[in-house]
Symmetry: C2
Subunit: 534 residues, 2 copies
Amino acid sequence: HVDEEVTLCGWIQYLRQDLFVILRDFSGLVQILIPQDESKSELKNAFLGLTVESVIMVKGRVRRRPEGQENKKMSTGEIEVCAESMEVLNTCRKLPFEIKEFVKKSEALRMQYRYLDLRSPRMQYNLRLRSQMVMKMREYLCNLHGFVDVETPTLFKRTPGGAKEFVVPSGDPGKFYSLPQSPQQFKQLLMVAGIDRYFQLARCYRDEGSKPDRQPEFTQVDIEISFVDQAGVMSLIEGLVHYSWPEDKGQINVPFPSMTYEEAMRDYGVDKPDTRFGMKLVDVTTAFQGSQIEFIKDALLKPSGCIQAICVPEGTVRTESGDSHSYVPTPQLNLQCSQCSLISKQINLFKQLFLMAQANAGDLIFITAGPRENVRPLLGKLRLQCAELLESYGVPVRDPSVFHFLWVVDFPLFLPKEDNPEMLEAAHHPFTAPVPEDAHLLYTQPRKVRGQHYDLVLNGCEVGGGSIRIHSPPCPFFSVLLVIRDVIAFPKSFRGHDLMSHAPDFVSEEDLKPYHISVVWPSADIEGQQDNSM
Amino acid sequence: HVDEEVTLCGWIQYLRQDLFVILRDFSGLVQILIPQDESKSELKNAFLGLTVESVIMVKGRVRRRPEGQENKKMSTGEIEVCAESMEVLNTCRKLPFEIKEFVKKSEALRMQYRYLDLRSPRMQYNLRLRSQMVMKMREYLCNLHGFVDVETPTLFKRTPGGAKEFVVPSGDPGKFYSLPQSPQQFKQLLMVAGIDRYFQLARCYRDEGSKPDRQPEFTQVDIEISFVDQAGVMSLIEGLVHYSWPEDKGQINVPFPSMTYEEAMRDYGVDKPDTRFGMKLVDVTTAFQGSQIEFIKDALLKPSGCIQAICVPEGTVRTESGDSHSYVPTPQLNLQCSQCSLISKQINLFKQLFLMAQANAGDLIFITAGPRENVRPLLGKLRLQCAELLESYGVPVRDPSVFHFLWVVDFPLFLPKEDNPEMLEAAHHPFTAPVPEDAHLLYTQPRKVRGQHYDLVLNGCEVGGGSIRIHSPPCPFFSVLLVIRDVIAFPKSFRGHDLMSHAPDFVSEEDLKPYHISVVWPSADIEGQQDNSM
């Protein structure tokens, strides 16, 4: 645009040396040259009276910057605009904080001045990225795959079961609408109505307070398809994610790896494993077989009693003295245990344990004894907690720039009722179809029946899930849903308007009491003696 | 696909002569040939046991239909599928109504069995058309014009003024959220936040019962732009409508014609005129100047008193006897008036009246006397009512296949308060900027100040509207909004999930009493005598 007359509107980013104004709008920055000519002193003074973040309209002429003054870091760094006239559209008074990335603001302040906070490059990037990703998803579903975008009502009847719902008083005293937890019923009716392929970016509501990955209102990519099987849905969703994936986040590969629920619980103690790092759960029951340690004996006597461990590589840190023999457990992980001395005498047991856990010098091992259904989730939580703690000490555990997508499949169709573990209830919802090969077990061994339910997990977050519906008792094959949770549930770099701090869901001491001991392997020699620090 | 093995799933549309099944899915119909071979009698019997609308899966081979048996009306009319196996996915029992266009159903029945009603070709077409139009709108805004799609919260604070809002009890006793009437505040904050170009397909809520063109929850294309003027927004919206316009509805031309509020009120008695037909309002005050008729004299003495008329072409119909001299007024329009005989004596007045109204033989003229602000809206309503009545008698007035888009501009900035006409209130919202040339009248003649507000009208429906905002007292130029109402407000062929009957908002007799007389011009001769039927 060199030599062109232009009109620019935007916010003042900087004022520099009475010579330049840097103007910002949605598309970026540009340098405005303040005229130094005597005849334009009025215009110059107007510029000098400006404050940062004021909104102005400048008319001027574009010119190439003098040689050597280009700024290669700026996309408009080769040009500048010589101001010819300027109008102040709005003056900015003193702001509660500067609009700069490096200025740390409290969350409360950011929320109070949300309209200023959103001016930051990071928030602008997030909002625009979300808009573009959602647009690509729509193109994929609507234009490439013939889905019909149907807006379903949000003032509706209460759905029995599920989350607590917001209610809306109707004009009819004593009667209320409910805001939907999801468009579940509507989309299944749409299948009956022959829409075949439905999608919606659906607003959903749950009156359950804010959680890091779920706010009271959130948006999900809501899909329902007739005449399809689990493999068909999974490949559709892989295509969807692949198509809408932002270029600047690097390539992702499809198909995504797949893991059964049983494998996920066995190796990671959770049904949404973060597979960016190891520290898998190891069953070390055999090492303790025949052990005389009282609480271990007790644990193994219980039904499904077992002993499991995780090994935290470099889980111990050197003291500042640099003494290589003086390891201390990572603070906060230093759980006291009166029985440690008892264990520490069992050298052979230790040998076996370290081999099974593939432990090296400086590693930290957690051992847990108890019923399998308790031990696994607990070690699963500890595993994540260890990763966070190590990272907070600067040890790289999870690469924040990689994206590990993972399908978790073959969920149990039933789980024990929370308030009455003798009884069963649907693990997801009561219309999830069983895996056909397991259908014959429905009335004899219902705990063994797997459901045609599948979750999509990204770096340890459940970002989607769905199931094949029961459409008739004998033939579990009809229509499916795939819900991708709001971009809010994506890792930090994807979050749009969510500013909730991601407080990790720490294991409470209460949780830990009955099960845990911590063992710190103290020396470089796996055959060696235990350290006195225990 | 001739000679290919295919698997088809769908609904049974017809069963024909024990030979064919017509299967339907979202993409259309296909003919399945039932095997007649003795060896396949089991499969044949399975087909013969089927009921219409049952859901089946058929595997078979595609073949070209025998010569002469092609069906040119069917897109798959050149082929058929020879069934090799069939599975019943769901059996259809007796339905409350047949899924056929020509079977008339009551609205209540359609609503009760919405999932069956939506199977009809018309509803399928509407839902799919809506989805496609909305997708095109998004492409235009997001991909072609750099708009950012931002989802704003729906659990929010109450907005003072405006429509009645739905409330949602919060966890905090005595405190409530409001469901938004529109994302007004959020989008203006987004402008402050530097989003520059925002759009959203926004769900809005008004607790005001259902109206034909506004349901308690509805969706609008919600737009806000920084640094733009009225002409810029209008051309953006013309582009949006043009880009997303469905091919099968014919070409529409941009730019759309424009009319001032004053012109619309003068010619059509309404700010959203249906310009598909004439019957414009005519001021016939001069014809009655000096009239001795008491109520006319009275009316003209009042401030802004006037006499206006509309001429309804062919507004009278012949009786069944065919007697050409025996016209009767269209039923329901035959408003009795004790003063008719008085008027009918004034032949000269009549001559002038008919000339001014450009009336021909068989036309019907309505004359109204009173203050202009009452007379115009009343004749405006009557004009629409006449069009509907004529159409119900088979007289073509409005072509249902044409789409007359129209901008209405230069709205007054203030209107008299409803409960106190001496006072003024903002005609739209209090942050609409005045037209710059009128700004100096703000404190002296506020009634004369025009606002930078504009409405988009389609065939007499307000389908959109917006305004330039006040961003600072002296300079009304900053950001604008354009709201296109939900597709629901489009004419019938565009409606998606709206099934409300469009009961016309008839003028009540109460309304008519103080103002109206009807004059029926009875014979073919404009110079002739009035008919006895008066």
